[in-house]
Symmetry: D4
Amino acid sequence: MTMIWQVYLSGEIHTDWRCQIADAVSEADLPIELMSPNTNHADSDDCGAEILGEPGSDFWRDHMGAKMNAIRNRTLLDAADIVVVRFGEKYRQWNAAFDAGYAAAMGKSLIVQHPAEFTHALKEIDGAAMATCETTDQVIEILRYVTMGDLSRG
Amino acid sequence: MTMIWQVYLSGEIHTDWRCQIADAVSEADLPIELMSPNTNHADSDDCGAEILGEPGSDFWRDHMGAKMNAIRNRTLLDAADIVVVRFGEKYRQWNAAFDAGYAAAMGKSLIVQHPAEFTHALKEIDGAAMATCETTDQVIEILRYVTMGDLSRG
Amino acid sequence: MTMIWQVYLSGEIHTDWRCQIADAVSEADLPIELMSPNTNHADSDDCGAEILGEPGSDFWRDHMGAKMNAIRNRTLLDAADIVVVRFGEKYRQWNAAFDAGYAAAMGKSLIVQHPAEFTHALKEIDGAAMATCETTDQVIEILRYVTMGDLSRG
Amino acid sequence: MTMIWQVYLSGEIHTDWRCQIADAVSEADLPIELMSPNTNHADSDDCGAEILGEPGSDFWRDHMGAKMNAIRNRTLLDAADIVVVRFGEKYRQWNAAFDAGYAAAMGKSLIVQHPAEFTHALKEIDGAAMATCETTDQVIEILRYVTMGDLSRG
Amino acid sequence: MTMIWQVYLSGEIHTDWRCQIADAVSEADLPIELMSPNTNHADSDDCGAEILGEPGSDFWRDHMGAKMNAIRNRTLLDAADIVVVRFGEKYRQWNAAFDAGYAAAMGKSLIVQHPAEFTHALKEIDGAAMATCETTDQVIEILRYVTMGDLSRG
Amino acid sequence: MTMIWQVYLSGEIHTDWRCQIADAVSEADLPIELMSPNTNHADSDDCGAEILGEPGSDFWRDHMGAKMNAIRNRTLLDAADIVVVRFGEKYRQWNAAFDAGYAAAMGKSLIVQHPAEFTHALKEIDGAAMATCETTDQVIEILRYVTMGDLSRG
Amino acid sequence: MTMIWQVYLSGEIHTDWRCQIADAVSEADLPIELMSPNTNHADSDDCGAEILGEPGSDFWRDHMGAKMNAIRNRTLLDAADIVVVRFGEKYRQWNAAFDAGYAAAMGKSLIVQHPAEFTHALKEIDGAAMATCETTDQVIEILRYVTMGDLSRG
Amino acid sequence: MTMIWQVYLSGEIHTDWRCQIADAVSEADLPIELMSPNTNHADSDDCGAEILGEPGSDFWRDHMGAKMNAIRNRTLLDAADIVVVRFGEKYRQWNAAFDAGYAAAMGKSLIVQHPAEFTHALKEIDGAAMATCETTDQVIEILRYVTMGDLSRG
């Protein structure tokens, strides 16, 4: 089978989890194309105002930026076969939950990663997921198993 | 025009905002049918375990409950013309953000209500909304204007 | 057959063409439910700023209003079986052309009415229409024939 | 990520804005495939009658041409991830507005470029857009940022 | 069960088969709403030219009429649960075959009635049908059995 | 809320479980319309041959019957909000599993009822379900809770 | 633009019109991939019975063949951007009309070729087409113009 | 034609039928990409618990595994043009029937292979299939004929 799986990595942007997945995919030569939002926090906040001009209001500044980023994010979510959403320890991360809802409505296979203490607060999102896990290694194992059928037994 | 608008009220369940909207709809005889998730917090948490039996694990207990509630919520979201999502002052409210993402992906008209201090954290969701406001009265005014064309000038 | 046809009347708002159609539908008791955008020009311009507050910029003022009106217009366009788009003599009427494109993409039956001198400028829109005509009486005759099978021979 | 973004350039055909974008895409080696309608005005007007024969009526001549061009335009709009619609200073440009409506209904990311004086007349279309700008350089910056994450700070 | 089945009766217009079905539906009080194209042959041919004006060409005269009838036929086909297509003994009846293809692509349940001698020529259409029969009585029996579960044993 | 929930009861036809659900829905006046396949086994087997004539082969006899029943079953499955699939103790019940797959692909909320000993054999179907239970009383409790929010605590 | 257009050639199989188009596409190096049904008449009639076994009935023999061919034809129609349907001088050609209806319902761009004397009988199909012509050369010119923008003026 | 057909091989995993098809596809150089579920029975059962941790319950252990496998199977089913479902002599094989229902609802071309004695029990699934056969050689012949037009006459 020569199919390339499209995997979108949504959510937390303050650790290097995307790099860990990219390294694992590359090392194992998995048939996966990784996609992600712009993870440069400052650029992601400023893009609208930088390109279109300052609107003179915080609300509209955020609005312009959010919609410009959405051009990228919606297109990639639409193209994805699998959407991985990672909730980190900090921040409200409503955009991660939004992406999970978007992915669920589009019928994408959703994999959710979060610390165990969020289980109750994230139950609706876990309920929509095909797999819920706690570590990046587990995400990598899922991707390997799903695309290649290789199950590493503990 | 005799169309009845289907409006789903998602999000915060600890104040009486849904009643305020219901009263306003009833008083003004707006052509609107309001729909909402089960707002009894305890029942919403326990429904899965009560009906299907205790699974012996917090994760699966939440999972069973979340999916049982999702039978209701997905069906009503799918039937809605307009989805109002209210973010309150407290809690993580990831399910509200999930519903917003779900509604956006389904092409529903999204109205978001939240306190002004959440503007930056909710920018992706506001970016997907047709209107963002701060008070329940504003939600009511939007529903009245959209369905009846009555604009109350301040 | 007891089906009620949903007909959305888009475009020009400065003459009473919608009333003429409504009168004809009512008089002939046609099985048609008419739908339309808010035709109060001032309210349609001001609704966003009135309800959500003045944004301090013409662009965002228009933006808020346009999206609030879109809650109504998209919902009704989505519900329509037939979309009638009327281009008047004046103004740029880009929203009428936008509605025609929206309706065409949604597979709605499109009826276009416009003065003969616009034939070349509107050729793409006429090309997507099931019928192109010049008078409101013709629109009424089309609606009568399509829904009832009554053909008034000249 | 090796995804190639499909970008359709709709609207004004009397300046070289498509070439400027093509040059910028080529120079920066952006992962973008540009698509556009036939921009030869005379051929676009005459194609139907030339190939299918003169119909003996201006209306049907335009009709044949519009539908022949629509074979191209609808297919490319359907294939697009992003649709850029440019409104120039002149002409009624109803086909540009039609394409914007078509793209909006199909859930495409819409970028609109127009002179500032059209803000009020184009508010419905701007309301459906993910970004509104005034210059071709801005369009290029948006495409670069969205596809590559490169933000040129002013 | 209170569901009303929408049944569209396409095809041959020179016998009274639609009346026979309507009588049977009415007599047995079946939960069925029957829909059909305009069966007045002359009106169906002339509607476009009568309402929109003579175009001065046979091709465009037919074109205008066909599209005006399509406003009705497409809407009703889209609304149908079951599409019955009857091929009579005479004429080419390409519009009946077109409706069958349209219904098949839309995932409608297709019932085809035709004389036995057309079996080979209609094999692609029979292949897309849920039932193929030869008499109007059989169509009636199918509708009765499908909607009510009453099977009249011979 | 005045919405009527469409619930399709698929699967086992040799016990009176559908009646039990109907009685409970009626008694509690739940806003539910129940739908089901033809549960007369003999009629369901013979319908094709009785109406269309004996085909002279067991395979085609079954084929004609299966497709005639599918006119009913597909239409009702398509109309359903919730699909309940019950696996009994006996028979292969492949049509029940087929309906579950059909419902899952259509995004319907799936409730599965089966004896505990089938857990491993039905794991793919349980994996696609929103709730899995063992008794008809549980199905009734789920329907009551989902549509009315009434949770009977044990 | 590097897009390859998928063009399905449906209809008449007794002349070499598909070869003429293939030669023209190849000669002009048009970015087109041509697709077609199996044009071997005998194989197309016999495929079902040859592979699956003789069913002992003409009806079911045709049925098996028609469905086997439909595996190919539906898949290719679904993949097509443009569907060309050619009606020859002879035979009933209901499968060509069926394909036209299928393509229309799927929103494909439909090009119809037929002798002028069929104009009235094919008016519903011409009404659904983006272009109607009489010769294979015209089909080739349309394909060239649509994909390359080259208009050969007479 | 250079199209590559995506063929998903669902069902029985205890014989080498997938290898036979792969060999035949390879030998005849058919334009087919074969896809299949993970056919390692033990890994398929254990994948969820191995990667995500033992849940302490048979039901949830199966549930985790079923959903992890579904990430693969749903994605491949969605990508398939043709779905072949093979029912072997043993086991209940409800997942095979589920896949058939899923494929039917998605409009995929379904080919079913099963021993003759299952004809009555599988009639609903055969009724949804484009071809029903008994041997792997027949599946291969169908794939060859459908993709290449080569009919091997007996």
